[in-house]
């Protein structure tokens, strides 16, 4: 929950324990019950991990843990971006296609010299640093357009981003002719994004894990330590109140969507390198997984509520479930059912907190 809901004075652990002892048996049960429910997602994760570990001892082997961390790292930035839009009681359907466009821009500029079927017949790969800035800028521009339309024309983000999703994909198809861009330069792939940083046992951990950690820290800083971040929560909880108290609501909305766009561009940059090529399906439906992860992690469509740590937990939980199902040998068809059930149940549990408060 946000700072706004933490208005009660913080108590020391000892004080809390004394308070607890002072309660009668009935209240004690109620406090324990509430605690269990408030931490239901964490408890479920722990139970799940224990269960899968008993069934499949390889689940917590280093190879598997590294795999889950890497998958989480690849999904986290987009979820962090989209969480901002959800905090504003909005959503962002353009995310996945912006990822695809970002991947495409990165791939065409970083194709090997003389690759067969090279997108630009002649030329060398650009410097990676320039390309990443360019890709982030592409994301920021689309995000800016999203935010501008939402703030200025008072359109619901669902409509605006549905439109930009289609436009972005259409532009991508027009420019790319749906060609796959393969043969990416090593300065981009194996020497940067998928470069092994170090090994745990025999399993290398790739560079994009560190990059995702950096992105997370930056986002945490923006959300919690900047005026912009505080304004974002203010606008999300009550736009009118924020406006009256002097917050530039338009700037905040545009800023949140543009920042989200940057995270999509970044994700596109990583995905093309991770896959070894840019294709038309990169990014497809990423926004849906990201939104699901956010709401599982307690970022609420009610608005003004959400924490970076919650988003991280949401993404980790999604990956644990997906990975766990592979370990348990659950077929693809059932996977969808379980994924849907998890989203539904997680949100129902989460919503209970706000319902009791109202």
């Amino acid at each position: 929950m946000s700072e706004l809901n933490n208005s009660a004075p913080k108590k020391g652990l000892a004080q809390k324990f004394d308070d607890f002892k002072a309660l009668d048996a009935r209240d004690k049960r109620s406090v324990i019950g509430n605690w269990l429910l408030d931490h239901a997602m964490i408890i479920i994760i722990v139970l799940l991990v224990i269960y899968i570990q008993i069934q499949r001892p390889a689940f917590l082997a280093t190879a598997s843990i590294v795999n889950i961390i890497q998958l989480t790292a690849s999904r986290l930035p987009i979820a962090l971006g989209i969480a901002g839009a959800i905090i504003l009681t909005g959503t962002d359907l353009s995310a996945g296609r912006v990822v695809g466009l970002g991947a495409f821009v990165a791939a065409i500029l970083l194709q090997k010299t003389g690759a067969v079927g090279r997108f630009f017949a002649v030329g060398d790969p650009w410097p990676v640093l320039i390309v990443i800035l360019l890709v982030l800028a592409v994301g920021a521009i689309i995000g800016f357009i999203n935010g501008f339309c939402v703030a200025k024309f008072k359109l619901h983000p669902f409509i605006v981003t549905l439109a930009t999703q289609l436009i972005t994909y259409g532009l991508y198809l027009t420019v790319s002719s749906a060609k796959q861009i393969s043969s990416l330069d090593e300065s981009y792939t194996t020497n940067l994004i998928t470069a092994p940083m170090f090994k745990i046992g025999n399993t290398p951990v790739m560079m994009y894990v560190a990059l995702a950690a950096i992105v997370t820290v930056i986002m945490w800083f923006i959300w919690n330590k900047t005026t912009f971040g505080k304004n974002m929560f203010a606008v999300g909880s009550n736009e009118e109140a924020a406006r009256v108290s002097g917050v530039n609501v338009t700037a905040v909305i545009i800023g949140v969507f543009a920042l989200a766009g940057v995270t999509y561009g970044y994700t596109g940059f990583v995905e093309a390198a991770r896959m070894g090529a840019s294709t038309g399906t990169i990014g497809l439906n990423y926004e849906l997984d990201a939104i699901a992860a956010c709401v599982i992690g307690g970022v609420s469509f009610v608005g003004g509520i959400g924490k970076i740590s919650g988003v991280v937990i949401g993404v980790v939980l999604m990956q644990l479930i997906m990975s766990g199902m592979t370990f348990l040998g659950i077929s693809g068809s059932i996977t969808y059912v379980i994924k849907g059930a998890v989203i539904l149940i997680a949100c129902a549990i989460d919503m209970r907190k706000y319902l009791t408060k109202k």
């Binding site: 269960y51 690849s74 796959q180 043969s183 294709t279 497809l284 592979t326 077929s331 998890v342 549990i349």
Partner: protein, 353 residues
């Protein structure tokens, strides 16, 4: 009450995850899409073959998204599976398949690609790797030849407006898929070759302003619905009354062909006795197309992709790979092994007779 309800929900969640049947997961099969009709026929046969051979398996769905599939494969490798059977999503980019091969190679797990094509260099970069498929150009070539012969048998009948040319519409399953590209090309080229050899003009695309000369499923799913929607739109403008009716339908697969037939039926064509039948051609000869469309004469022909043969070849090679023996041992002699990397399952023409 609310609390009780959410407790129950939480419990259900945990139970739903633990209550599922346990399989050993020795073999992981990665499907391009569980909703693809031809592949679901392969899957039904393969599941039966695997069960009969005592191989434990799990089917995974990439939902037509390569990133999903690559992540599934990475996860499966982390579980220490014995064999990977991959029906790859992206067929045009070697980088993606190479990425998968490199991962399997690093873990020493045998890897079998099937159905969706992989280039020779990629397969040969790993000694425990092979590809089971078709000579993908053959389907289009065979379809084109079939169309040419079919039209020449009664050319005037099919030339509805009597302008001496046959106007056609082409449905492409996926913009970037190599098989779709080849079928789109040869389906027309080979029919043209037959027609010109018999002194007839080439086929004419129904819409002069479309330079691509095909309509493509933008989602790349070779979908019945997409073809039906296109065809309905086309038939609103192109009719016998206007003298510009589409006189031939060529589709990259049976699903798209069936979509076109459905659209034709809605405006009174291809409905058996008493109605004009526009020749519609597909590829795959799926059970649905054969039983419900070709036997009653609503669809003119298709090219049979032998799904049972495909499943049989996958199963035999899987057994060999798991046992660590020669990959191609005990293979049915109908299948040819090309150059030590590719097993070819032959196509056949099918007209519903």
């Amino acid at each position: 009450m609310k609390k009780l309800l959410s407790m129950v929900l939480a419990l259900t969640l945990v139970l739903s995850l633990s209550g599922v049947a346990m399989a050993e997961g020795n073999t992981q099969v990665f499907w391009y899409s569980l909703s693809d009709v031809y592949l679901s026929n392969v899957r039904t046969s393969l599941n039966a073959d695997f069960t009969a051979a005592g191989i434990e398996f799990v089917d995974q769905d990439a939902n037509a998204t390569q990133t999903t599939q690559t992540d599934q494969i990475t996860t499966a490798i982390a579980t220490g599976t014995d064999l990977l059977c991959v029906n790859i999503v992206e067929t045009g980019a070697d980088g993606i398949a190479q990425n998968v091969v490199d991962q399997a190679k690093a873990a020493g797990i045998p890897l079998l690609f099937f159905n969706r094509s992989i280039s020779e260099d990629v397969v040969k970069s790993y000694d425990k790797c092979c590809f089971i498929g078709t000579n993908y150009e053959d389907a289009g070539i065979m379809q084109g030849n079939m169309i040419g012969d079919y039209l020449l048998a009664d050319y005037e009948k099919y030339d509805l407006n009597g302008d001496g040319e046959i106007s056609y519409i082409m449905f492409k399953g996926d913009e970037a898929n190599q098989e779709a590209i080849a079928r789109t090309k040869y389906g027309v080229e080979n029919a043209d070759a037959k027609l010109t050899a018999a002194g007839k003009p080439q086929l004419k695309f129904y819409d002069d302003s479309n330079a691509q000369k095909y309509l493509v499923d933008q989602n790349g799913t070779w979908s019945r619905q997409v073809a039906q929607d296109y065809m309905t739109t086309v038939l609103a403008q192109y009719t016998e009354a206007n003298g510009n009716m589409v006189e031939l339908v060529i589709a990259n697969n049976d699903e798209m062909a069936i979509g076109a037939v459905t659209a034709l039926q809605q405006v009174g064509y291809n409905n058996g006795e008493g109605t004009v039948t526009i020749p519609v051609f597909g590829v795959d000869a799926t059970p649905d197309a054969v039983e419900n469309y070709m036997k009653p004469g609503f669809m003119a022909g298709s090219i049979k992709q032998d799904y049972e043969g495909m499943a049989e070849a996958i199963c035999t090679i899987s057994q060999n790979m798991i046992a660590g023996t020669d990959m191609f041992a005990n293979l049915n002699e109908n299948f040819t092994v090309t150059d030590g990397w590719k097993v070819v399952i032959p196509y056949a023409m099918y007209t519903g007779e």
